[in-house]
Structure formats: structure tokens, C-alpha cells
């Protein structure tokens, strides 16, 4: 064996591979598509993420839902273009006569493409997380959603690269991009319920029907169960595809086939695991085989309280909403503070989620009294919710809960006794509903707590609502016991 035919020393081979990778990095289509990736992310993902309140759970889970989708077109396209490069440039004969195995050569090109795509992915994650870190009132970065996105990038480039390598031609790039685009888009829409195999899509962050909600992963830790399965799936898919690229290489056929089989087994196992998922009460998907019981312990926190006649306390992650909460129910807090049955303090508690048969999820929470309340998941900035809509929800929920609890006497009241017309009028007069709600929308829900529109009770409620909170408080301080006892008529209401 001559010196030239002998294999290079291991360190020299590593150095040679490094030089090859450097060349591929310098001449990679993904480098030129990074601005496109950033523009797509800015347009589709960044603007929506930044419109959300600065809560780690909301932003990190939305990031997972958007980032990979935005990177999909440039990353898959660039990988397909690079994979088809040898065929398109008619260089196959020239490279076929070289010593480095085709698999090794292809992996260098794929690795360079993936490296640039990962840099783009990590840059997007860094921007979102740095900005969120500056504004978030509590907590730290949720890394699992970012890990899922980062692990999904090699899968995208592997799919594109393999398609380009197997079917070299100018049209394979747009074709594979379109196929992967619709595949990903359909994958996010196909999931139904907490046991759906489609949850394995790396774009699905948490329970599909809830998505990124403020109540998820705030009182309890972020469950990594589904994320682990998703990472396992994308890693398995990547390994399987890269292994399949090596199957035509004579000497490495069995090794490549074994790698492919291992990758497919990992991906298949991950899909099966996703199918065993169940929605836990805290809004996350728990997978029994991957679940750590320690994750079910609530997160310790010190609540943030407002300076209102009845203090309202919220989880520190929701601190930015405290002014909106106190403003929305401020008159009720002033009106009922100190009255018999009024809570000394109102505290936010965790939302409870329950999977219904089919595709629905019931969201509930709060205590039997007015001392505990849940903040609605529709916070300003989420799903286009405005500040006014958020305030209306609070008034309909917390305000009505507080008013009915104080006026009707809460749990002390006999269960069978229906509220009097005067009580209904005072409740309705104390809570500031939007007109449309007062007239119609809430009636089916809170029908037992609201007077019929146009009825004498509704007219009395309008009269009572015209008073200031202090005047209403003064009247209630003197008449609440009589009101609860049914000794106050509508005509006697101020």
C-alpha cells in the first residue's frame, strides 16, 4: 500500500472533514435564504408573539407553533436545492470517482445546510426570549418549546435534502417545499383530542384545543412529556432519512439500513407515545410512559396584590393584568368591601381543564365563594382579544360572582330559596355589563342571577346602577340583611 492509497490519519481525516464543511458552509443556499427566513418569521411569528402579554408560557408555546412553520420554506427549499446540486450541475461522474464515500460527502452538505438553518432558528428564539426576559413579570424561559423547534430543523433539512438527492432536478425544490408545507399545516389541524397521534407534530405546543393559554404552565410546571415525544420523533425521522441516503453505498449498506431502522423505530415509538397522551387538569398533555410525578407539584410563588378596598391578588406571572382587574371590578370592590359575607381578599387560582368527548375542552376554576377567582384565558393580545373585552369578561365573571355571593349570602343561604326580584335588581345594578350582555347574551348562563330585560326588576337595577359605588355601599350596609330576608321591595330600592 503506497502512501497515497493509505487512509489518512484520524486527525487528518477530521481536519479534512472540517475543511470540507467550511467549504460547504461558505457555498450554501441556506446562508442566502436566512434573510427570507427572518422576514417570514417576522411577518408570521414575531409580530403575533410580541402582541401577546409578556408571559413565558404564552410566548414560548406560540414560538414553537410558529417558528418551525416559518423556517420550513427556506430550510426545506435550501436543503432540496443543495441535495440536488450534483445532479443539476452534472458533476456526478466527477465526484463518483473520488475516494470519500457519497454518504460522507452528502452528510457534509446536509450538515452545512442544517447549521445555517439552526443559526436562523436559534437567532429567532434568542430575540423572542431576550425581549420576553426584559418584560416578563415572573418566571424564566421555557426551554422545551425551543428545543422542539431546534430539533425539528434537521428533520426539515433532511427531508428536503433527501428529496433533492434522490430526484435531482430544478422542480424538486418547489415540489418538496409545497408537500412539506401542506404536510405540516395539515398535521397541526388533524389533531383531535388529547389522545391524537397527530400531536406528534412539532408545531403542536401543549393541548391542541387550548394552545398557548395563560392558565397553562403558570401555576404548575411545564410538562415536557409531549415535547420529549416530539423531539424523539423529529430526531428519529432525521436519522432514518440520513440513514436511507447511505443505503446505496455498497460497503455501508447494512450500517445505513440499521441506522434507518433505528430512526424509524424511534419515530414510530414517539408517535405511539403521543397517542397515549391525556390532558391533565393544568392544561398540558401528560404521557404516562414519560411522565415525572414531580412535575405535578404546584410552582411556589408569592402573589401580587392590589391596594383596593378588597385586595385582589394574582399570580406574579399575571401581574401585568392586576391594574386591569382592579379597574374592571373596582366599583364592585368598593361597594361590597366590609359587608357581611364579602371576602377579605380575592385570590386568583389555577384554571382547571377537562377534555370532553370529541374535540372540546371544558375550562373551569374558582372557588364556591368569591374569595377565589380565575382569570379568563382570553387576555389582551391573545386571539385578538382587546382590553375592553378582557374587562367585560372580568366583570361578567368576577364582578357577577362577587355581587351574587355578597347579595345572596353565599353558602349561608338556603339552597332551595330562589333570589327575590329586589336581590336580582341589586346584583344587576352592581355589575357593569355591556348593554348587549345585559339584554341578551348572558341570560342563558346567568339567567337565575339577572332580571328579565324590560321587567320592573331590570328598571330598578338601572336606577340602582346610577348611584355611586359609595352610595350603593352605604345603602347595602343598612339594608343587606333585610334584602337577603326578602323584606325589601323593588320600590324600596334607591
Amino acid at each position: 500500500m503506497t502512501a497515497a492509497s493509505a487512509p489518512a490519519a484520524p486527525w487528518s481525516a477530521v481536519l479534512g472533514s472540517g475543511r470540507l464543511l467550511r467549504l460547504e458552509l461558505r457555498h450554501n443556499a441556506m446562508l442566502w435564504l436566512l434573510p427570507v427566513a427572518f422576514a417570514l418569521f417576522w411577518y408570521n411569528g414575531y409580530r403575533e408573539i410580541m402582541a401577546l402579554p409578556p408571559m413565558w408560557n404564552l410566548r414560548a408555546m406560540t414560538l414553537q407553533n410558529r417558528l418551525l412553520f416559518d423556517l420550513m420554506i427556506p430550510a426545506t427549499g435550501a436543503a432540496a436545492w443543495m441535495g440536488s446540486r450534483e445532479g443539476r450541475r452534472s458533476i456526478t461522474d466527477l465526484v463518483a470517482g473520488t475516494a470519500r464515500p457519497r454518504w460522507s460527502r452528502q452528510l457534509a452538505t446536509w450538515a452545512a445546510t442544517t447549521a445555517w438553518a439552526e443559526i436562523g432558528c436559534l437567532a429567532c428564539v434568542a430575540v423572542v426570549y431576550l425581549i420576553t426576559a426584559r418584560h416578563a413579570s415572573w418566571g424564566g424561559p421555557l426551554w422545551w418549546p425551543a428545543v422542539v423547534s431546534v430539533a425539528g430543523v434537521p428533520a426539515l433539512t433532511a427531508i428536503g435534502f433527501a428529496a433533492g438527492a434522490w430526484f435531482p432536478g430544478r422542480f424538486v425544490t418547489p415540489l418538496v417545499t409545497v408537500v412539506v408545507f401542506f404536510g405540516l399545516a395539515y398535521g397541526t389541524q388533524a389533531a383531535s383530542g388529547d389522545h391524537s397521534y397527530w400531536q406528534i407534530s412539532p408545531l403542536t405546543a401543549g393541548a391542541f384545543d387550548i394552545g398557548a393559554a395563560p392558565g397553562v404552565a403558570s401555576f404548575y410546571p411545564y410538562l415536557p412529556d409531549l415535547s420529549i415525544a416530539q423531539v424523539m420523533f423529529t430526531a428519529g425521522l432525521t436519522v432514518a432519512i440520513l440513514g436511507a441516503l447511505g443505503i446505496p453505498v455498497a460497503r455501508m449498506r447494512w450500517l445505513a439500513a440499521a441506522v434507518t431502522a433505528a430512526g424509524l423505530a424511534a419515530a414510530g415509538t414517539a408517535v405511539a407515545l403521543a397517542g397515549t397522551g391525556r390532558l391533565d387538569p393544568h392544561g398540558m398533555i401528560a404521557i404516562p410512559a414519560l411522565h415525572d410525578a414531580a412535575s405535578d407539584q404546584p410552582v411556589r410563588y408569592t402573589p401580587v396584590c392590589g391596594r383596593t378596598p378588597i385586595p385582589v391578588c394574582v399570580h406574579p406571572a399575571f401581574a401585568t393584568f392586576l391594574p386591569a382587574v382592579t379597574a374592571a371590578v373596582g366599583p364592585e370592590l368598593t361597594e361590597f368591601a366590609g359587608l357581611p359575607g364579602a371576602p377579605a381578599r380575592i385570590s386568583q387560582v389555577a384554571v382547571v381543564y377537562r377534555q370532553d368527548p370529541g374535540n372540546g375542552i371544558t375550562v373551569s376554576g374558582g372557588g364556591p365563594g368569591a374569595a377565589a377567582f380565575v382569570l379568563p384565558d382570553e387576555v389582551p393580545g391573545r386571539l385578538g382579544t382587546t382590553g375592553a373585552e378582557f374587562a367585560a369578561q372580568l366583570d361578567e365573571g368576577l364582578g357577577l360572582q362577587l355581587a351574587s355571593d355578597v347579595i345572596l349570602g353565599g353558602s349561608n343561604r338556603a339552597a332551595a330559596s330562589a333570589p327575590s326580584q329586589a336581590e336580582l335588581a341589586v346584583i344587576a345594578g352592581s355589575v357593569r355589563f355591556p348593554p348587549s350582555v345585559e339584554a341578551r347574551d348572558l341570560a342563558p348562563v346567568f339567567g337565575s342571577l339577572l332580571p328579565q330585560p324590560g321587567s320592573p326588576a331590570a328598571q330598578a337595577a338601572r336606577r340602582f346602577a346610577a348611584l355611586t359605588p359609595a352610595a350603593r355601599h352605604a345603602w347595602l350596609a343598612g339594608h343587606l340583611a333585610a334584602l337577603r330576608a326578602g323584606r325589601v321591595s323593588l320600590a324600596q330600592l334607591p
Binding site: A4, S5, A6, L23, H27, S90, I91, L94, T98, A99
Partner: protein
């Protein structure tokens, strides 16, 4: 012998491109002549280990390229310039030659020097940093030769290497061939019989997939003294052998 070909055939479907060729070549410049479709390129591709023979025995550099490990060893010592040179337009001359040095698994420490030497040998030193997309056809051909010789191959296979070169470059290239032939086996497939006459020590003439002549350029010239057509003595020998083979 660096090249030992024994009764090699190669089929593409129903078409037999190479039909029972036997050749031997040691160090020196070996010319492979023949008309279009004679099977020269297919024979060169088999020698370059790009495609395997359908039947027959092929030994290169005393190794059997049919097995994986010997084939890889052969490829480390092989230089190949295909007829249609594909290239990456965004690469510079130096990067393209370096790329192939790395694919030929040259020791990484030797690569920069070898790249510079190969580029100088084809007179492209001044354009080493030029992108391939900016080069003329003749310059691209020289880049192809540079990548073929960057690893100082023991077996150099050149398919139409002088196509697109100007007369001055062809003269220089023939000198380079003679220099490379001092230590390596250089197989040159060409239409241009003057290249063979000027640079080759041995020549084979192929027609319809078969070798119809194998000898020295002088012996080929002697075949045309009575009945060949053409302007140069070697051309007359070439046409005379072809006419005899087809008769």
C-alpha cells in the same frame, strides 16, 4: 502494469458500448483514439470506477476496483477529467480544486500546497480567486485538469482534455502530459490525433466498442502510408485502420 483490462464489456440496456476490450498500460501517456460513439468515454468511466464493467476483468494500480476497500484505495490515487465537466459556479478556482483534493482524501495538511501547485501547473495562478462562473470554456477545462492532478495521481484519466484550449495552451498542456507521464499512467481520450502524436508513447484506436489498433504512434502512422486519407501521417494511419476494421 497500472491498467490491466481483460475482455471487458459494458452494456447499457440493449446497447453494447464496450465489447470485449483488452488493454494494458504502464507509466507513460496512453492515447485513446476513435470516432464518436466508439466507446472511449465508457471505457474511461469504467477505469475511473464510476461504472462497473458488465463482464470482464479490470485491475487498476494492482487492485481490483470491484471490491469496496481496493476501489477506495484506487480512487485516492486517481485523477479523472470527464468529457462534460460539471462545476459549481459559485466556487472559486482554488475552492473547486480544494474541494476535490478533500474528496480524494488527501492529508489535510498537504491540501493548500497541492492546490496551489495544481493551479500553477495549468497556468491559472492569477485567477485562483476568480469564481468559476466568470471563466471561459478553455479556462474551465484547465480547472478540470487542475482538480484531476491535484493529488498527483498514479493513474490520470483525461477525456477530451484539450477541447476548448487555444493552440498555445494545447502546446503547454502536451508538455504537462509528458511530464506527468514520467511517473504516472496517463490515459488521454481524444479526437485530435496531433495531441496523440505529440504526447503519447502508446495509442489504442477504438471503433464500435472494440480496440482495432494497439501500438505506438509510429506504428499507427505506418498503417497509413499506402491507403489512408488525411493531412497528417498519423491521420492517414487513423483512417486506414478504421477503414480496414470496417471492411
Amino acid at each position: 502494469m497500472n491498467v490491466e483490462i481483460t475482455d471487458v464489456t459494458r452494456r447499457f440496456g440493449r446497447n453494447q458500448a464496450v465489447a470485449g476490450v483488452s488493454l494494458q498500460a504502464g507509466p507513460g501517456v496512453f492515447g485513446l483514439l476513435g470516432p464518436n460513439g466508439a466507446g472511449k468515454t465508457t471505457l474511461l468511466r469504467m477505469m475511473a470506477t464510476v461504472i462497473p464493467p458488465t463482464t470482464g476483468r479490470l485491475r487498476l494500480l494492482d487492485r481490483d476496483p470491484g471490491a469496496y476497500r481496493p476501489r477506495r484505495e484506487v480512487r485516492r490515487r486517481l485523477g479523472y477529467l470527464p468529457q462534460n465537466l460539471g462545476y459549481y459556479p459559485g466556487f472559486t478556482v482554488a475552492e473547486f480544486v480544494e474541494y476535490f483534493a478533500l474528496l480524494k482524501e488527501m492529508p489535510a495538511g498537504r491540501v493548500p500546497g497541492a492546490v496551489a501547485t495544481a493551479i500553477e501547473r495549468v497556468d491559472l495562478g492569477g485567477t485562483a480567486k476568480a469564481k468559476l462562473r466568470t471563466l471561459s470554456g478553455g479556462m474551465l477545462r484547465r480547472v478540470g485538469i487542475a482538480q484531476a492532478i491535484v493529488n498527483e495521481p498514479d493513474l490520470l484519466l483525461l477525456d477530451e482534455p484539450t477541447a476548448g484550449l487555444d493552440p498555445e495552451q494545447r502546446v503547454r498542456f502536451r508538455a504537462l502530459l509528458r511530464e506527468l507521464g514520467q511517473r504516472a499512467t496517463v490515459v488521454v481520450s481524444t479526437h485530435l490525433v496531433e495531441d496523440v502524436g505529440a504526447a503519447c508513447s502508446q495509442v489504442a484506436l477504438m471503433d464500435q466498442g472494440k480496440v482495432v489498433f494497439d501500438g505506438t504512434p509510429g506504428e499507427l502512422t505506418a498503417q497509413g502510408t499506402e491507403q489512408g486519407t488525411g493531412d497528417a501521417p498519423l491521420e492517414r494511419g487513423y483512417t486506414a485502420v478504421l477503414a480496414a476494421a470496417r471492411a
